[in-house]
Amino acid sequence: MSSQIVLFDAPGPKARRRHAILTVVGILLALGLLWVVIRKMGEANQLEGYMWSPFVTDPDVWTQYLLPGLWGTLKAAALSVVFAGIFGLVFGMARLSASRWINVPAGVIVEFFRSVPVLIMMVFFYFGYFATSDLVSAQNAPLAAVVLALTLYNGSVIAELVRSGVFSLPKGQSEAGLSIGLTPGQVLRSIQLPQALTAMLPALVGQLVVVLKDSALGYVITYPELLNAAKTLGSAYANTVPAYLVAAAIFIVINYLLTRLATLVERRLGRRGVGSRPVGTEDAETEVGPGLPGGLTSRDA
């Protein structure tokens, strides 16, 4: 039911009056909430000018705290996405392999890393290996733990996306390939994967939002990302609440733009008429294929 119009009739006079009342109630509710927030902040002296002015007047706030923090977040997210893409492609293909010796272990690995919380992996890698051994320099230890944990989890999710993307292709595609004499491996590589990857592009962009948000977990293991930067900024300038609010705003803007990008890509693909419909995106979220317990989609973590 794509258009809202379908859900209700054009309102008559009575319904219009009811809608007007509900509009007023909604506005009052929003204003009331805003008022409570402002009053609470005012009571705690959080609205004073000196709390907020550093964000405009003091360039150090940005160059020393927020921008390095943002860089840390983006670096971790970018590295994780690249590695997760590779991991996902390899394990997605392995799961599609005809050989049971390959697809069963790949399936076990993917399901395992999908069901273990990212934070559990992160603290274990950090405190267990990276922080206590010479695998990486002490300075890079938190980054390594963040990237490894995010790669394993998101790589497994992408592996599932690859698999469901290939499954959602029309059967004729692989049959045509086989009938002209390609091997199953060739069919997968040169016919199915290119189409499946295009179809899952929106879901991949959506996964980027998940990675970006989850990189904030690095806070726990002292990785210098945006949330950690907001914390140190808050103690340096004694403006904890404004610092967190600004950090949250930065996260929200970036992630919102990425979500818009995903929708845009999806719409574009829809116009181009790709062989299959996009997988794992908003509309397909309801579809959980058999043998895909829980049906984790890209927007759920």
Binding site: M1, S2, Q4, V6, L7, F8, D9, P11, H19, L22, T23, G26, I27, L29, K40, A44, Q46, F112, S115, V116, P117, V118, L119, I120, V123, F124, F127, G128, Y129, T132, V209, K213, D214, S215, A216, L217, Y219, V220, L227, A230, K231, G234, T240, V241, Y244, I252, N255, D283, E285, T286, E287, V288, P290, L292, G294, G295, L296, R299, D300, A301
Partner: protein
């Protein structure tokens, strides 16, 4: 391994995970349903309210919300849920988890509404059912069935996300406890697999149950 089991309260940590999951799942379902109703309502302002909620909450890291609830809301703004410090952190963890996942519950319910073909609503109206009647008798029963699978994945994500509460609960919570054990005793793969197994045990039945339900209750079209 035996030492670790007897020295640390691993079962207790998982009990906290279960408590957090159940309480915040109930909260998320309630808030999420309300937001979903706002998002499909015929009134534009209410729709806008619902959409803003989802866009703001869904794009903020859960870790940030958790940290802010204690360092910002409790310590600075003085909004505490209990005078006892650890009780306050526990209650805030439940509230934050509920508020965060409500956005995903809302989207799950809305995608359920989207699985109902437009013809169903048109048919209901053409035989003279009012909005409330067509919602109650025709649309919502189908929408709910369509929403079961995404609700299941939201619940699984919630169970796993309770670990983020370690940020404010510390070693009471499983991720915090694992961090402490690993720091004290060094890396021990069996301990890691024990924790991982705990989450597999918690989430696997949910996945199987919801997949089964969604197939059993699917509307055949």
């Amino acid at each position: 391994m035996g030492d670790i089991l007897s020295n640390y309260d691993i079962l207790g940590a998982f009990w906290v995970t279960i408590q957090l999951s159940v309480l915040s799942a109930i909260g998320a379902l309630l808030i999420g349903t309300v937001v979903a109703i706002l998002r499909v309502s015929p009134v534009r302002t209410l729709r806008l309210l619902g959409t803003s909620y989802v866009n703001i909450i869904r794009n903020t890291p859960l870790t940030l919300l958790m940290v802010f609830s204690i360092l910002g809301l409790s310590f600075i703004l003085g909004i505490t849920l209990s005078s006892n410090l650890s009780r306050n952190a526990y209650l805030w963890a439940v509230v934050v988890l509920a508020v965060y996942h409500a956005a995903f519950v809302c989207e799950a319910l809305r995608s359920g509404v989207n699985t109902v073909p437009a013809g169903q609503a048109e048919a209901a109206r053409s035989i003279g059912l009012t909005f409330a009647q067509s919602m109650r008798e025709v649309l919502l029963p189908q929408a709910f069935r369509g929403a079961i699978a995404p609700l299941g994945s939201t619940l699984i994500a919630l169970v796993k996300n309770t670990t983020v509460a370690a940020v404010i609960l510390g070693t009471e919570e499983s991720a915090g406890l694992l961090a402490k054990i690993t720091e004290n005793e060094g890396a021990s793969l069996p301990t890691f697999f024990l924790f991982a197994l705990g989450f597999v045990i918690l989430t696997l039945p949910i996945g199987v149950l919801f997949t089964h339900l969604s197939q059993r209750l699917a509307v055949k079209r």
